[in-house]
């Protein structure tokens, strides 16, 4: 942004030059059609639609109507975009793309029947990625309506890869919720794992596999199949968001098998993560339980006391987080400050999973509605930044134009023009004479070139003379246009800031409710350890009594 602004400063003289040359037509009106079509496609694909909306009329070729509809959608004109996509679907090209866009628009509006119809059309008319997206859309719609079998049939038609894996994972979640037996869910998860392994993006594939293995481990543990659970959980990577929970469940499976020592090793590793992550507070309690079951009541007591202290500390941290949210807002506290880069580069890799604030941000983003609320604020911030840039640019133009209007002297250019015109005529006469005298072909070619250049200068001179006559009015018009735009920018900025304040209030309310839930979770964990400590003391007291009686 700064670079662009300084460029505008450097070019402010260019504004004056533009006025001298006459107000030029914008790029939008001058670009050739095939080029304009490519430029619009690139801008739409990279989210820069605002800069090319003037090129809509220049679009040509088989993609023109489709790109035009996408331009309308990107500029928020949904109704016109819908009509445009329908027109494209009734045409010959981009039928699948248009149907997919219409399906997504219908789903966003809550029209599930319409969405299903358009997804079906996209599946029939499209090819490649469009078909994959349409099938996933149909599977998700079927799942939302409780039709698991139909969803499974759509997923079975998809090609192996990330999206098919996500579809099967969602289906497994439904089976796990509805079935008493975990076998259908585990089969779905195994299919999802096979699909995810085929994903070309290795980071994305690994993240999904971690989540799938954790879910499968949890289900196997619930079915008392401890070896299977351990097998799944050991496949979760040690540098993932899912690691602490996998370590806790791994310890639990080992503990159920009677291997308390190994279980405590897993829980000890889970304890290294911030308490915000799922499974960490349970691992703290598990450590004491492990010592207790292994016959070390003294160390069990110490472990629970240490867990108590950790939970107390976390409640203080949560209290401070709540205060910060109330003072600075949730967006700054949780989102912006969590990505501060005041850390040495060699620690940067592990910071994501070791900083409590980042841990709470990750956990918070899992809450329903949190991502939408954060995205709203971020989007409004982007809008404010765009408007600020427009305002700054317009201010530079207005200053330059005002300065030029003040210094414009209508007498001077007339005399300068006359002198230059005289010079042009003299040069033309000299050149004509030389052309007659040219001896070699090289000289003739050189003189032809010069004649072309001189003729071009003459054309520009006469064009300039015509423009100079209308210059003051033209300058005033552009200045008025720029001032009107500046006023409009200010109005839009005020409106954006007001909506931003509303969106931020909603985000704050969600974040505070989340922090409150986390505080309750810590209080609950604290109650559990205190109960364990009470039981231990009771047991020790009874033991002492028994020994005394003997």
């Amino acid at each position: 942004m700064n670079g662009r602004m300084s460029l505008l400063f450097r070019n402010s003289l260019g504004v004056v030059a533009a006025m001298l040359a006459g107000v030029a037509a914008p790029v939008a009106n001058a670009m050739d059609n095939p080029l304009a079509t490519g430029v619009v496609r690139f801008a739409l694909d990279t989210g820069e639609a605002a800069t090319v909306s003037g090129l809509a009329a220049k679009l040509e070729g088989e993609s023109a109507d489709y790109l035009q509809a996408r331009l309308l959608l990107a500029s928020g004109q949904d109704d016109k975009a819908r009509a445009g996509f329908e027109g494209v679907f009734n045409g010959a090209s981009h039928r699948g793309d248009a149907a997919l866009a219409l399906a997504e628009m219908a789903q966003e509006d809550g029209d599930l029947t319409g969405a299903e119809n358009w997804y079906q059309q996209a599946r029939r008319a499209g090819y490649g990625e469009v078909v994959q997206k349409a099938l996933l859309g149909l599977a998700e719609l079927a799942r939302m309506q409780g039709k698991s079998d139909a969803a499974g049939q759509y997923l079975a038609r998809m090609e192996d890869g990330y999206w098919a894996a996500v579809g099967y994972m969602n289906l497994a979640a439904d089976f796990a919720r509805d079935d008493l037996d975990s076998s259908r869910a585990l089969v779905s998860l195994r299919v999802a794992m096979a699909m995810a392994a085929k994903d070309a993006d290795s980071n994305r594939s690994q993240a999904l596999l971690d989540q799938l293995n954790l879910r499968a481990g949890y289900l196997a543990l619930g079915s008392d199949d401890y070896d299977k659970a351990i097998d799944f959980l050991e496949k979760v990577s040690l540098e993932s968001y899912y690691t602490p929970q996998a370590l806790y469940l791994h310890g639990l499976a080992l503990s159920r098998k009677g291997n308390h020592r190994a279980a405590m090793q897993s829980w000890h590793r889970a304890k290294k993560f911030p308490l915000a992550f799922p499974g960490v507070s349970d691992a703290w309690i598990g450590m004491g339980r492990g010592y207790d079951l292994s016959g070390y009541p003294g160390q069990a007591g110490e472990s629970w006391l240490a867990a108590n202290a950790a939970y107390e500390g976390e409640r203080v941290t949560l209290g401070k987080l709540s205060e910060r949210i109330k003072a600075d807002g949730a967006y700054k506290t949780l989102v912006q400050d969590a990505r501060s880069d005041d850390i040495q580069w060699f620690l940067a890799d592990s910071r994501t999973l070791t900083q409590p604030r980042m841990a709470y941000l990750l956990r918070f983003m899992e809450e329903p509605g949190a991502q939408t609320a954060v995205r709203r604020v971020a989007r409004l911030d982007e809008m404010v930044a765009t408007l600020d840039a427009s305002k700054y640019n317009l201010q530079v133009f207005i200053q330059a134009l005002e300065g030029f209007v003040r210094s414009a002297d209508s007498r001077a250019p007339a005399s300068q023009t006359a002198a230059v015109e005289q010079q042009q005529r003299e040069l033309e006469t000299r050149l004509d004479r030389l052309v007659e005298q040219a001896a070699t072909p090289a000289q003739a070619a050189e003189l032809r070139q010069l004649k072309q250049s001189l003729a071009a200068a003459g054309r520009r001179m006469s064009a300039l003379n015509q423009q100079v006559v209308h210059r003051p009015e033209r300058l005033e018009t552009v200045l008025e246009e720029a001032r009107a735009m500046r006023d409009a920018t200010n109005g839009l900025r005020r409106e954006t800031l007001s909506l931003r304040a509303r969106a931020a209030r909603e985000l704050d309310a969600l974040a505070l409710a989340f922090v409150e839930t986390q505080t309750r979770r810590m209080t609950h964990a604290l109650d559990k350890t205190e109960q364990q400590i009470a039981h231990l003391y009771e047991y020790l007291a009874l033991e002492n009594l028994g020994e005394g009686a003997q």
């Binding site: 070019n11 260019g14 533009a18 107000v23 496609r41 928020g76 071009a456």
Partner: protein
């Protein structure tokens, strides 16, 4: 009931944000058009565009552009941008002003060829600027078996 009220409240906020976004997009387009009108007079304007002829042959990393030996722009391509170029997108690399006469354009292309070889090539193109807008389209191509990058230039006047 409270949850329903909260949902309708949020959706009305989303609708307002959408409407505002449409207004801001239109407004930014007008400001952009005015900028173009003022900063790049039509008679001296030069724009350089980049497109790909063959999607599979080259994975474009970056392009550096020099006009008359002066660096004017450099762009590092994202996955998204590469995909768009592969589907016929055209990237406007540079827009500026030049006086009439002879000029030289140098492009330094960094890419990975289909045979997994990293290539860095300098391409120089001399052109003559005449009154009126000049648009130079660079089209990048590489052919099997050696996948040596080739650049062709089209001048749109």
């Amino acid at each position: 009931m409270a949850a329903m009220a909260a949902t309708s409240h949020s959706s009305s906020l989303d609708e307002q944000i959408e409407r505002l976004n449409a207004d801001i997009t239109r407004h930014t387009a007008s400001v952009h058009a005015l900028e173009q009108k003022l900063l790049h007079p039509v008679n001296t304007r030069v724009a350089v565009f980049l497109s790909l002829a063959n999607r599979q042959a080259l994975e474009l990393d970056s392009v550096e552009l020099f006009v008359n030996e002066q660096p004017v722009t450099a762009h590092l391509y994202t996955e998204n941008e590469r995909n768009s170029l592969g589907q016929g997108g055209v990237h406007q690399l540079f827009i500026g002003n030049l006086a009439d006469g002879k000029h030289s354009l140098k492009a330094v292309i960094n890419a990975r060829a289909a045979n997994n070889r990293f290539v860095r090539r300098e391409i120089v193109h001399d052109f003559r600027k005449q009154p009126g807008t000049l648009r130079l389209q660079m089209t990048l191509n590489a052919k099997a078996p050696d996948y040596e990058p080739e650049v062709s230039f089209v001048e749109w006047k």
